[in-house]
Amino acid sequence: MQECYFKRTISYKPNLWVIVFSLLTCLAEMMMGGSLAFPAEKGKIEMEMKKLLPLEVGGYRSDGKDQLYDRLTTFRYMDGAAELYRSYGFKQLRVRRYLKENQPPILVELFDMGSSEDAYGVFSFETEGEEAGIGQGSDIGGGLLRFWKGRFFVHVYAEQETASAMEVISELGKAIARFIQQEGQKPALLSLLPREGLIERSIRYLYHPHHLNDHYFVSHENILNIGPQTKAVLATYLSPPARDKTFLFLTQYSTPGQSKKAYQSFVKTYLPESPSSGIAQTENRKWTAARSDQRYVIIVFDAPSGEKAEGMIQATQKGLKEKRR
């Protein structure tokens, strides 16, 4: 088992409870995501990640002081921001700083997310910039380049935004994307989304209720029982003729029983006036509809009409039916 963060930080004062708690927490981490690597695997990942980062680009050279973090130690590097990566299957982070005289430093953060689905997921969290044509999906803006390829998610930015730094950021991104040879699949759940009106860059793949709320606030409580054992996707649609935004949230549970329970919890809290139909006009005069379909729960928010909400649910169910064939 890998060395635990706790052992290093509290070792000055051995305490049985601390040791027991540390072991339990580490065990829980392994059970939840299976993502704490064993030493041999960890070493292998470290070597592989090292090879993915160039030593020099555009006159910028690595400062030779790479930093490595795992699921537990990454809090030291980015504090609470680590929660996003931890809510996916994050395994390791390698941070490399590039320097050039009289130029702002450039920082690369290379995340091994454990799977391409999770690399895509963490990438999909924020796509407010422009596509840069790097890797399997990218986003550039505000001096920051983000992209994913295979099981890796990459974050490149300059400490000050200058035209030349932006060029190097782009060049660095392309070099790293070239070094990552294996591409990966997007989450299968995405293929179930109806295509009509879908805004492709609005798709968010997530496992955490907080991340649903980041993009579409539903409730302070986890009324849909979203968690590590569920897979969920939120997508935005433009509905003609007014081109209002409608949101579709699709969650896959482990069992039909869990799906039904989540559906009932949602309807009871969010649509209490429609416990049997699961469809209602909300205070903004738009429509919300929900349905449980075997292991899935489909919810449409802010549809312009009840018929439109129902139509989107049926279109999603059609996709589910085809998948089961």
């Binding site: 706790f6 980015m78 921001a81 969010y270 909300t282």
Partner: protein, 299 residues
């Protein structure tokens, strides 16, 4: 047992969310303002200086020192900066300066240096003081500290709404992720831990540059950084964070023309007051003493 109110998007649409949130936080809906005003006010000092950032965007050490000296002296009703710090610290104190090293917007090193200088002036030996953030649990000075100075920049934060004084102590626990639930509402409990309890002599929020908006956990975005050129200084971390949260809100309104909501409501600030009694979050009970250049101060 009273059933807990679940807040949904529909509460916002109905406009009932503030009542709902107030109830869930344990804030009485029949809040009596005159009663609050009768209570003693908490004092915080807002000091600003236009010259603290030069034309090249560099922070000027000597101006930061002046701002710190004047701000702390105002807070403690003193004139001489050295005497002021002698009121805060004894030469026998062991002093930890809990800073913040978030690489994109850290505590300015100029501010760290200004604080260090005054701690030395107060007679604390150099080897009895330390500045640290992420290594504090392994830092002997922090383990043995008799006094803490809490200093960090003000910014929005993905999990807690606002990254301020209360949140800056999260590195005093080895399991920070256990404090991220429910919008980080339990953060104030860290202030009750033996390493921390009763030791904080001064809190300083650096407003030299603030980040007033951000999306997502990495959340650094230069478009939403403001050169506010100020310091907010006080003894009550909750009061500082409450004023800080209000400032960030006003900066968002000024920038976007609307009150654009954060990823998370800074619930932990209110919880620190209402539940954990760490300080005062009601802005009606906070007296902001303004010193220096106040153009565009918003507060």
């Amino acid at each position: 047992m009273k059933k807990r109110k679940v807040i949904t998007r529909r509460d916002f649409l109905r406009g009932t969310v503030y009542t709902a949130l107030g109830t869930s936080l344990g804030v009485g809906t029949s809040f009596n303002k005159s009663e609050a005003l009768a209570e003693e006010k908490v004092k915080v000092v807002l000091i600003r200086n236009e010259e603290v950032i030069d034309r090249q965007g560099q922070i000027r050490q000597e101006v930061v020192q002046q701002m710190l000296d004047q701000g702390v002296a105002t807070l403690l009703d003193e004139k001489d900066p050295v005497e002021t710090w002698k009121k805060l610290l004894k030469p026998t104190d062991i002093v930890g300066i809990k800073s913040n090293s978030w690489h994109t917007l850290p505590t300015p090193k100029e501010l760290e240096e200004a604080i260090t200088r005054r701690i030395l002036d107060a007679g604390v030996p150099k080897e009895k003081m330390s500045i640290d953030d992420r290594g504090i649990l392994n830092n002997r000075v922090f383990r043995d500290a008799t006094a803490l100075i809490n200093v960090r920049p003000l910014r929005t934060h993905h999990w807690s709404g606002v990254g301020g004084c209360i949140k800056n102590y999260i590195m005093f626990v080895s399991t920070p992720w256990l404090y991220h639930s429910d919008s980080c509402s339990p953060l104030a409990t860290i202030w009750n831990k033996p390493l921390v309890k009763g030791k904080t002599r001064l809190n300083i929020l650096s407003l030299i540059r603030t980040q007033f908006y951000g999306r997502g956990p990495h959340s650094f975005d230069r478009r939403f950084i403001s050169d506010y050129r100020g310091l907010l200084i006080g003894k009550d971390p909750v009061a500082l964070d409450a004023i800080g949260a209000r400032l960030l809100q006003l900066q968002r309104i000024a920038h976007f023309g609307e009150d654009r909501s954060l990823d998370t409501t800074p619930k932990h600030v209110f919880m620190a007051d209402q539940k954990y009694k760490l300080g005062v979050s009601d802005v009606n009970r906070i007296e902001v003493i303004k010193v220096g250049w106040m153009e565009g101060s918003l507060i």
